[in-house]
Symmetry: C2
Subunit: 365 residues, 2 copies
DNA sequence: CTGAAAGCGCTTACAG
DNA sequence: CTGAAAGCGCTTACAG
């Protein structure tokens, strides 16, 4: 909150100095500016600006001449100067609180995929929704940097206060969430519900009747969606999710372990446990081992996400794959208006079942 | 490489339109500028600028008056305008190719810790060192954004071409590496060697004689350092690392599994295996399980990094903790010149041993 | 210690 | 279809 006091102080201190080298851009002729291009092409800088911004009001011949000069000199407009004039930067922000490193990294990679070659850059901004200064922090971040727009993964995406704030200050935003929370132009929907429904069908098909479920953090919308889709699928299969066999987890390994132990202590013991994410499923695997149970012979354990941990544990987890990176790419393209460059598979953001070795039929009693 | 063609086209298309609302900064009075502050404080903008940049050439009384106005209006200088005038942005870049999500996220959090409150922001830039356009990409990224500086984690930090390029174009940089590769002002040293030496001492102390080692990717300097420190410690303990028991891994779970199987097939079988990172150690655990071996009763398995996976596997891994986030914070502070704000523990970046359940004495033959 | 002028590299009205 | 002027919000010389 304090005034940004930067080390550039030296510049001012040196008011009487004379030996500064201007920041040191040795190593090469200075980069061309719009003035250079205008002069070289024999036009005004405004016309160059029109070409840069793809204005239709430029004669083809003029445009081609200018583009040739631009290409020859490898000119690229200065985003800072452009931003200052536009009153808006060419930065997009990712504001997030998802604690899973793999999710964060995949999402970042996806966003980067989406802005590649566009001249935009990605500024990362982890946050804490429970902080008293949370909204002020977001506002300061967005306004100070004059962000072009922001992408909000869960659970930040589910916070209506953030969406409202962004609308008020006129910042573009895309919310990534498991359900449609906003106008379509602001949403990328993850359809977690379909994923867990697929898992429900899988367990039904294997013949399980007594099934335990571990929910994620209630503050994440996905927790409820994953549970809802699963319940629907069980009903579809003629079963019902017994509320006694639903325990509250926290999306962490430790919570999975604790919840797993709780479920395995119940009578009758469930023959399958569906954890709200892989992390917790890995915890259940530990609980099963401690209880002396074989997976999947004695117990089926399945997860959700298909992050790396799903393949690092033993046995490898049957889980639901969510295409995080793909979702990120589409979100970024939508944000900067680069969508529909190519025909997209509309199903590319839908989660799907991956069967590995941790699921099997229930033990024959 | 193409000219940045942004969607801002609309702005130009609208040359004849009149209904644009200027980007929509409704929702609040416009933010104060340096001119507002100057007028309000009854001074020139240059003097306000001096206060912003902490110039000593301002009378105390003047400074206080200006600071009061700044505080009252919550004024913060526009980084874009400031950057344009400085010919340098307030962005720092993280250029990296480390494939481990947890490392990446921890490092980002550390860098963010280091720049918090400074007005700087973090722009992430994953890259591929083997790409033919790698150096050009880095150069374009740094020059186009006029980055204030960059932080280079391994293995990018180990690439002399990058350091040379950065020096040439006058960009500040900090290299994070396991050994001193550059002048101290450009380095944060991780001392991986000390970490693996500690692990060597641990295994010696437990009484192991026949020890297998799985190296990381040879393209990472840490691979060699981790091996070197380990060998030294064994020699210290009167042992010698048998080259036949050193196999080449790739820092991945799969490579750990394959290397583990190779080592367990040897005669005599090693009683302990030290993998160059946790990921590979988890793979070794799988190999041990497939071979019907109990850990640690039949085989000790240890790793390096102390990432989350170390606690998610069974048994939890004895490993070396590396303070990634702390290292990141120190790197960022050093880069922006905010170091030494407080006295630092000089050992805070040194890795240390964490003993869990995967290590024990060798089986009595 | 303080300020008026010029400039950073772009774009927005306004003209033609 | 094209351009000259003014401006985005700061800082750098240069004066005093």
């Amino acid at each position: 909150m304090t005034l940004s006091k930067t080390p550039l102080t030296a510049a001012d201190n040196a008011e009487s100095d004379t030996d500064r080298e201007g920041g040191g851009l040795e190593g090469g002729r200075k980069r061309a500016t719009i003035n250079d291009i205008a002069r070289l092409a024999g036009v005004s800088k405004k016309t160059v600006s029109r070409v840069i911004n793809q204005s239709p009001f430029v004669r083809d011949e003029t445009r081609e001449r200018i583009e040739a000069v631009i290409a020859e000199w490898g000119y690229a407009p200065d985003p800072q100067a452009r931003g200052l004039a536009f009153r808006r930067s060419f930065l997009i922000g990712m504001i997030y609180d998802n604690p899973n490193p793999q999710y964060v990294v995949n999402m970042q990679l996806g966003l980067l995929d989406g802005i590649r070659g566009s001249g935009f850059e990605l500024v990362v901004h982890p946050c804490d929704r429970s902080s008293p200064t949370f909204l002020l922090d977001v506002r300061t971040f967005v306004e100070r940097q004059k962000l072009f727009g922001v992408v909000l993964p869960p659970s930040v995406s589910e916070d209506e206060r953030v969406a409202k704030l962004l609308r008020e200050i006129g910042c573009e935003y895309i919310r990534i969430a498991s359900v449609e929370l906003d106008k379509p132009e602001h949403m990328i929907v993850g359809h977690d519900r379909l994923g867990s429904a697929a898992m429900g069908a899988h367990l039904v098909e294997l013949g399980h009747k007594k099934i335990g479920f571990i929910t994620g953090l209630p503050s994440f919308r996905s927790s409820h969606e994953r549970r809802g889709g699963f319940e629907d699928a069980l009903i579809e299969g003629g079963l019902k999710l017994d509320p006694d066999y639903v325990v509250q987890g926290a999306y962490t390994f430790e919570s999975g372990l604790a919840c797993g132990e709780a479920l395995l202590a119940m009578t009758p013991r469930p023959t399958a446990i569906f954890a709200g994410n892989d992390e917790m499923a890995a915890g259940v695997l530990q609980a099963a081992r401690r209880a002396g149970l074989q997976v999947p012979a004695d117990l089926t354990v399945v997860g959700f996400d298909d992050f790396q941990i799903a393949q690092a544990v033993w046995p490898p987890l049957t889980t639901i794959h969510i295409p995080t990176r793909e979702v990120g790419r589409i979100a970024a393209e939508k944000l900067i208006g680069a969508a529909a460059r190519e025909k997209r598979d509309p199903n590319s953001t839908i989660p799907y079942l991956v069967v590995r070795e941790s699921s099997g039929p229930p033990p024959s009693v």
